[in-house]
Assembly symmetry: none
Amino acid sequence: MDKFIAHILMVDDDDGIRSLVKKYLNENNFLVTTANSAENALEKIKIIKFDLIVLDIMMPGKSGLEFIMENKKKLETPVILLTAKGEAKERVEGLEVGADDYLPKPFEPKELILRIKNILNKTIKIDQKRVIEFENVKIDLNKFLIFKNNREFKINATEKVILEQMISYPGKTFSREDIGQLINLDKERSIDVVITRLRKKIEIDPKNPKFLQTIRGTGYVLWIE
Amino acid sequence: MDKFIAHILMVDDDDGIRSLVKKYLNENNFLVTTANSAENALEKIKIIKFDLIVLDIMMPGKSGLEFIMENKKKLETPVILLTAKGEAKERVEGLEVGADDYLPKPFEPKELILRIKNILNKTIKIDQKRVIEFENVKIDLNKFLIFKNNREFKINATEKVILEQMISYPGKTFSREDIGQLINLDKERSIDVVITRLRKKIEIDPKNPKFLQTIRGTGYVLWIE
DNA sequence: GTTATAAATTAAAATATTTTCACACATGAT
DNA sequence: ATCATGTGTGAAAATATTTTAATTTATAAC
């Protein structure tokens, strides 16, 4: 797969912060475009499809908040809000309006990077990474198919939802309750069985699961990479 | 990118609220331990390093307020106060004493989550080390694995929790009771057995432990570098 | 060194949890 | 209606973990 370089729009009226963040993001392999006002940002959005927007909530003129409100639906672009300290109320509102994350100023550049990566991981997977490959296994979530050693297995909606979630958070432990919520099953045994069947499809050696492992007393984890 | 799961202590004398909040926090990917009194909370704080404490201000016995006053300085752990309606005075006092935030009851679980995240964002070292290396030993807490001399050992949830805590406080002595609390074991021998098992996995020479040592009459310590 | 006490080790038994199996039920196709 | 197929369930089997107990080993005090 080609190396994906995310294109980020950095919107802030403060020249200092703007160029600093841009520099930092560049060093971390992001392509960065900046805007010094909400209006300016809107112009750029019209012609460029960004992968993510970093937005100062306290800009003069049209506030960052309104900006998101008006454009979030059309955008389909995740937004990280930068908030000045002490504006708790607005912060919460901003989130509910649809920001994907927010970061109180002053912030560590490193922290911003982390959050950006975090969000990109989620959104990019959801939108385009519907085919996941690891070792001899290929999972096509769109087609509900798993290919393993030249054999093809069909997965059902239940199995798909579980894989979808676990693939979004590899390494995260899902309790049975978590999984039950996902697929509307509340009997623990039933969830076990779903896992067993899934293993038969994705594991090379289902008796010794390598990818979909049990954490006894805790739940299940998916290891891919 | 490692996933950090925050460990939260929920202190409330009301069983209903306690379990409700615990459930909700669990669903939102927090690890939750509960206490039903300030005294009980203190016990747990002594042995577990929490990332955040949610505290009901109106508990009987030692009030939540005193509790914070006495321990806030040592704790270094952020606290969110839950306050019953109309106790404005106390609320303010609580804040001044050092709560990091407060939330009037009744509250929306969603709002609690927001505030927790907000505080954690500020306080947590984001790239928390989940992989620890010393000499020939590498412990990957995320993957429940220990690598020692090219061999790979799997640890279970019990062993992981112990390592997790001991790694947070290298050099600190944990009594058997401490460890028992952590992993819900109360038989002393059982803890010995767990330690033995752990040593087989992390020690180069399990018979002469170098890292996980016994302090006779007192407990166990982990020495890493 | 001897003795008393604490801790480590081991194996076996008891318990708890997970996996698997076989059946039952539902659904949709023929 | 019958059949084939897929999915959920309970129970049995397999496995992992904890407890117990017996023994050995280590430590500290005398």
